[in-house]
Symmetry: D2
Subunit: 383 residues, 4 copies
């Protein structure tokens, strides 16, 4: 049976809500059965109608939804909830859902603050339920191949990591005119203390750690607000120190005019380098120190299981953002089903980002902000 | 309500069956309710189980399915059927489905032969039902943008069209070892008279005509069987003449070792050129005769409605093959729903490939084969 | 000592004359000592002044130059002459130069007609002198690497060859307004019987044969004049048959609006493919049938001597068109110096295009034109 | 008349010496007339023979050369000297050459130390002679186009600058085995205090300032020596602050295994961005904030004079590293000729890097090293 999914957030004008729904639908492992799509009940109903949901299961608030669903019988009650609200509405619904027995899959960053993330993590542990964080980029097959190649020594002992995430969409003062995505993401009351550093910096840091298998230990950050009147940073860069003497550079900017969504990771070891770019996500470049660059491609026969298992199509049939997202949903589905059958032990057994990684992301935001405010070169990053 | 979909074909080892299912699922406009996934009833059941279908609606043959479903009441009966079998099993199920009141969406090429395609077209017309052909590439947003730019005169009066579709997967004699995809596609008893020319040449020809809005009038073809022992062509090329004095070149080869699935279209007019490549499907290059190349990108604000309406994500969030496929399913869904509400008039009102285009594709195969066998330079292509 | 070089053609407004001069200068193997740069003596003098030549050795006609230089003593007389005139002025100067003891390096196509090329070849053989034809693209390191990989079996037994040369610069009717390059190249009285097929088609055919080591045996061509009023073809395409059952496609068009100078070659064997594109000339893609694409790059340590010997810089330091051209000049210089020291036997011992290849190029033009005029599919190509 | 050039350095095994010679030869504006190519007189003679120089003008030391040439008459004496030695042999020859009336063109970085650079600058000013520094990348047409577009406001008010220069050639401990290029570049006694920061970091900083027209005011640097046993930094990164509140990131690493020579610059303003990459040097991407990316290409008609004036070929005919280098030589030639005719006023009137920029480069090296050693975040960069 498909997993019965509810959704909190994702009403009219939402970007990521629709992505979650398509990602959940793609592999036919979930049925969206209910939702509280907006804090405005009318808007919630409108989205429910568009999605052809049972009107009785379209709610005006998340607590109403959680309470009502909890009251349903085992066969009908939602089993898991996707939380796709702005950051200030992550912690409340997540903790309440967990306390009422619902698995949670939630957009990043995990919380409004590091403190709140800590509370959520406690709730996850207390509940024993499945909790997944949608760091999309970790869902791409060639990202998983990169991680595999690093972990099997293909590029030798790591030395240097560059990760960058340039976007241009906040070049103008969009929030002044109420553009929905810009408004909440640049509003400290809804986004939290981080702007670009939270919205995309966390993705970049997560990707670097996910692929390298190394933790960032120190940052030296410069955060800027380049657009006059903006309330949060829209541009961030940092020198990084990782474990094992590896050094790095991180860039996350939303004022790189003309850039789309160009997350890129480059990792170098003493035998070669790897490069992955979101602009061409089905390609992974392996750069041996002393031979021709090799172009690894999604769907090819020579890839590891790590990549092959999350690929749907033969080489040359592009898979994209929704497919990567769906890979996280699929891993979440496996865990939820394992939980149903009593086999679930720990999120660490599955390949989706966990509450631990979410807490780490929130610490990253706060460390970057602290470093930027400091005259000291290096600020320790630990959780 | 979602459209209730059945499927014929798509059992174990199928490639395109899974694609159809994911494409149908992505936008939540269809519910897969039944299937006859294989001519082997056990295999059909296996796939049904994997898909968590009601076992009572997993059938051992397509005629059993059509008869049984036709007997169900209006609320439950499937409304449309996806036919994803090898080519020799297109005509029978399609005509029977149409005769029993079911809309049809079917993989390409439309039929086993031109004659059969003609019969299918008659059945479509007789039934008044919706019939769509999944020429996937026509579903890509940037292909639709290209078509829009051509039709609005952006590159002026057309002069030259290059379309090529190099693949490498049939470089070796795979069918000797029973590889499923290679076996039926190179078998005249299942694939029909065309090998590469049918499997991918039809896509190339369709794309060229779809974007240019011009019909091919003459071909001068060379078909080859490069792999010893193979029973059908695995390599095709042709000089083309289009309407309006436009000339062109078409390549469709499956023995271009090392190539993936690199369909590419280039069209030149007297004011500029356009280039679209499946290897980078979210990019369309507009090449003005006298200015810098412009890189059009899926999801950008400057695109036409033709592209915007079939795009799910902002620029920089790659959409791929399944999304393009789903665009055809979505257009099909609109037509089916219009049919249900009595508003459907003609397939020409919707943006999906029609029976007419399918017949044309079959004629293309037969014309290419005739031309290749002829000593004459030009062979007329008409339907 | 540097080789003393004279030049015929290359006056004001010339494109290729300046290229020859820079190519000859780059590696300091030639001294330009004299020239008859234009049939207009004033223009010839002007160019001579710009080049800071001895005014006494700037001539008003090529025969004056040849006669005058022949009268100089051994230490001063030019040793070789570069002929960079429009095609109708190739044969006369070349034959006269050879008859007067001067080595010749000449732009392509070799002659105004096949007949004339034959006469030139006789003159070369009679003289025993060095004669080189500047098919530039054969001078690129990665083209030589491609040839090496083919000849050493890296991609197995050849099957298919695609060569294309799209340009857009003749999209408009430039010759109407007297644009110098367009005027002579589209004028049958100066260019010969071929337009695009002569100007760039010969390059494409030469490249395909040079890299594959196979000769074209049959063509099936379509030549078009797309721009109204133009006197020669500006667009050509052909199906090709090569030796050993290899088939191919050739495109040479000058009305592909928005294209620059995008010569591209792709060759496929039963073990892999190769792709070289002039738009990125320091890259050669090796596409194994069953592994990742490998990106070969000029200047890398893993390349063959064939490429390394014609490379000046380490990997990552782009070499371009003039460097490729200079590689032909360098090979010509070696032969000339060998001739001086009595070691020269045959042009076949050096890696520059020869009179035989030039004759073949002229036959290609005439065969393409004959094929285009014929209703027969295949026209034999032989010399 | 061509300018008579002498050379100091550039003997057997040299990389950059040959580049200087080819750059000087390409446009026929210089004659190499003498040289002291090595501190080993035998090696100097060997190179002189290979270059077919008059043996009487091949010297065993630079002071011998300067003294001897100064004694020659006006018609024969060298006019300018190219200094292409390792860094520790820049200052001595340059100052002596200037004091003896010879113009100087010299490789970067300008000197062994900032102090020495200061002395050289004084010598330049005292002499009134022409002094040029070969920051090659500033010679590329599309770099000049970028600078033009920035200065004319095409991308609006600048906000962010990324410049990176990843190389991989020092991934291994090459200097252990005496590889010539690695040996001196990693030896503090010959290279100076900077390794990667001097060898390529100076190029990166120069490029960023040259194109943006802004000066770096503060750096926050991390220098690393990643290869055990190496004596200088082989990896550098820095956060940057420029004038006008612009911020930036600079990377210069020689241990990015598998990278060639991938200098890349990205600049963003409030109206758009620019991207130039040395891997594809004839392309400049203009990224408007709200329209398609535009691909500017060397040789195109729409470019500014800044680019057109340093371009030799039509669009689609790649120019590379030597051509860029030759553009600096050409600008130097203009200044030298102006000096001969009494029209020379100041290096600032010409488009080649000057002594001021060289001093700035040395200050950059020392500032980066100081910053890296400091616990303070920001170190002031001023000259």
């Amino acid at each position: 049976m498909k997993i019965r999914l509810g959704m909190i957030g994702g009403g009219p004008g939402s970007f990521i809500g629709a992505v979650h729904r398509k990602a959940a639908a793609l592999d036919s492992k979930f049925d969206l059965v209910c939702g509280s799509f907006s804090s405005d009940p009318e808007k919630s109903k409108q989205t429910g109608r568009e999605l052809q949901l049972d009107p009785g299961r379209v709610y005006g608030s998340y607590d109403e939804m959680i309470v009502s669903e909890a009251a349903l019988d085992d066969e009908n009650r939602m089993q898991a909830v996707a939380i796709v609200t702005p950051n200030h509405l992550h912690g409340g619904p997540a903790i309440m859902a967990l306390e009422n027995g619902f698995h949670v899959i939630i957009d990043k960053p995990m919380a409004f603050s590091l403190d709140e993330a800590g509370n959520m993590k406690v709730a996850v542990e207390r509940s024993g339920l499945v909790f997944a964080l949608t760091h999309t980029y970790a869902g791409y097959p060639m990202v998983k191949e990169a991680r595999h190649l690093v972990s099997t020594g293909k590029i030798g002992t790591l030395r240097k990591i560059f990760v960058e995430y340039p976007q241009g969409w906040l070049t103008d003062f969009l929030e002044k005119d109420g553009q929905k995505q810009a408004s909440w993401r640049t509003d400290p009351a809804r986004s939290g203390a981080g702007g670009s550093v939270g919205d995309i910096g966390t993705h970049a840091a997560h990707l670097a750690e996910y692929v390298s298998g190394l933790k960032i230990t120190h940052v030296c950050a410069q955060l800027n607000t380049m657009v006059k009147g903006r309330l949060l940073d829209d541009d961030a860069a940092a020198l990084l120190r990782f474990e094992n003497g590896v050094s790095g550079v991180l860039v996350a900017t939303q004022i790189a005019a003309g850039e789309e969504n160009n997350l890129k990771l480059r990792i170098y070891g003493d035998k070669g380098g790897l490069e992955w770019s979101h602009a061409d996500p089905n390609t992974l470049l392996l750069k041996p120190a002393d031979g021709p660059v090799q172009v690894y491609r999604t769907g090819s026969g020579y890839l590891s299981d790590a990549a092959a298992n999350v690929t749907r199509l033969p080489a040359g049939h592009p898979e994209g953002y929704i497919e990567a997202f769906a890979n996280i949903y699929s891993a979440f589905a496996v865990a939820v089903n394992d939980h149903s059958s009593g086999r679930y032990r720990s999120a660490a057994d599955y390949d989706f980002p966990t509450a631990d990684e979410g807490v780490r992301g929130m610490a990253f935001i706060e460390t970057m902000i602290a470093s930027s405010a400091s005259d000291k070169k290096w600020t320790n990053f630990s959780v």
